[in-house]
Amino acid sequence: MGGYGDVQLMREDGKRLDGRAVDEMREVEIKAGILPAAEGSAWVKHGLNIAVVAVYGPMEAHPRRIQRQDRAVLDVRYNMAPFSTSDRIRPGFNRRSREISKVTAEALESVVLVERFPRSKIRVEIEILAAEAGTRCVGITAASVALADAGIPMKDLLVGVASGKIDDIVVLDLDKAEDNYGQADLPMGIMPNTGEIAFLQMDGDLSPEEYELATEYNFKAAHEIHGLMKQALLDSASGGEV
């Protein structure tokens, strides 16, 4: 978390700068099946973030050394388009995107029924076209929808959500300013059906009690988004577009 500077993020009326309540998330819009060349795909707009995901496979896992005898591996790439951020990003993987790709792959491997596809891999390509705080969560949500759109069996649709802390108050779903000047961020990947957590990171400063509240907000939001994800998959039967 940035955490420096004296930026006030809560208004006197108890609302946040953009008018949201503490436990209110940004607007979310989801479409499934929007990339003709892919076997499964999704488009998620969450606030001003836009993530597009393509899924290919299951296919033979190569190079051979990534192959697992008893299950599929998920080959996940999280990538920010050069024009997705305020300062252009140089193409190619960096340390941040490699870490996010790794933990996202591990989270998705926890929900996909990977035992069904031994020795194979499933490619999940997460492209962030526009970034406004919280892209790793948006990517997880979009990846789940794209996997489902590709017909890959899963225990549940994993939902990416985050809460954080600004001006010593726990709030749901940080936007860009809140992310830049806030005190903590707690992104989670939640399986609403089982109540389990498959993705977990956090940085900043949270007391154990604040952690509990932030987690509660995350679960609430996960249920909301879960509904949108299921609806998008239903809608995609009738075709779609980016």
């Binding site: 060349a37 995901v53 393509a54 790439r77 990538n79 024009f83 390509e125 577009e241 980016v242």
Partner: protein, 260 residues
């Protein structure tokens, strides 16, 4: 790509060509449907999306302030990148830029650059010290054939709607990027022995060489490129150049129609 040459597909395409037909029923010089949108991405100073059949591409324009080259102290610069990332098709691998993506970026770049539509002098902030650098990035999300034309169209549309973010860099007021003309690329592919316009994915798999022609507002050539294995005769080139003149004008209208 180690794929077997799809002999069956080649035969089918040759047969269709002999009847003057195409794989998807189009006429030889027909385009697939094309949809162009502009100004669609938060954080990009210029952006455009093109959907051309099953092909979907985005172009985004960013700016920063840089030192000019010492031999051109009053000129800004343009940098074009293209990414054929694995999102776009099962056939693309991750890793460093492939020769295909490098060619794509450089051919689109030359069409814009060599048309002279960007007045590099207009991108000077302080002579010899600070100039604007224009960074144009092409991002293919779905490769359904003819990504060159889709990218070139998105590129010029994004450039022509871009706003230089001078305020963010504390160097004056924001202003529209000055793009004085509208260079347009048209690409032709040899399929079943003859050239067709706007090849679809199947025509690319079973086709031969391709020719990319970029024409300016007055119909002058600004960039040519032959790609892939195959040869052509001067007479064949003359034929597709005439077709390109017609189609470029249509696409130029489309681009202009999406400027606010």
């Amino acid at each position: 790509m180690a794929e077997m040459v799809p002999q069956l597909l080649r035969q089918q395409l040759a047969e269709l060509a002999s009847q003057d037909k195409r794989f998807d029923g189009r006429g030889r010089w027909d385009s697939r449907d094309i949809i162009l949108e502009t100004d669609i991405l938060y954080n990009a100073e210029g952006s455009a999306k093109v959907v051309l059949g099953d092909t979907i591409v985005y172009a985004g324009v960013k700016f920063d302030v840089a030192s000019p080259y010492s031999d051109r102290p009053t000129q800004g610069s343009l940098m074009t990148g293209a990414e054929l990332r694995p999102v776009a098709h099962r056939k693309y691998d991750p890793g460093p830029p492939s020769p295909e993506s490098i060619e794509l970026g450089r051919v689109v770049d030359r069409g814009i650059r060599e048309s002279g539509c960007i007045d590099m002098e207009s991108l000077c902030i302080v002579p010899g010290e600070k100039v604007w650098r224009v960074m144009l990035d092409l991002h293919v999300l779905s490769d359904g054939g003819n990504i060159f034309d889709a990218c070139a169209t998105a590129a010029i549309a994004a450039m022509r709607t871009a706003v230089v973010p001078a305020e963010r860099f504390d160097v004056g007021e924001d202003f529209k990027l000055d793009v004085s003309s509208t260079p347009i690329m048209c690409s032709y592919r040899r399929v079943g022995g003859r050239y067709v316009y706007d090849a679809c994915e199947q025509e690319e798999i079973g086709g031969d060489e391709r020719i990319h022609i970029t024409l300016g507002d007055k119909g002058h050539l600004h960039s040519l490129q032959k790609g892939l294995r195959g040869v052509l005769s001067p007479a064949e080139f003359t034929e597709i150049l005439a077709q390109a003149g017609v189609r470029c004008a249509e696409l130029r209208e489309l681009v202009h129609s999406k400027e606010a």
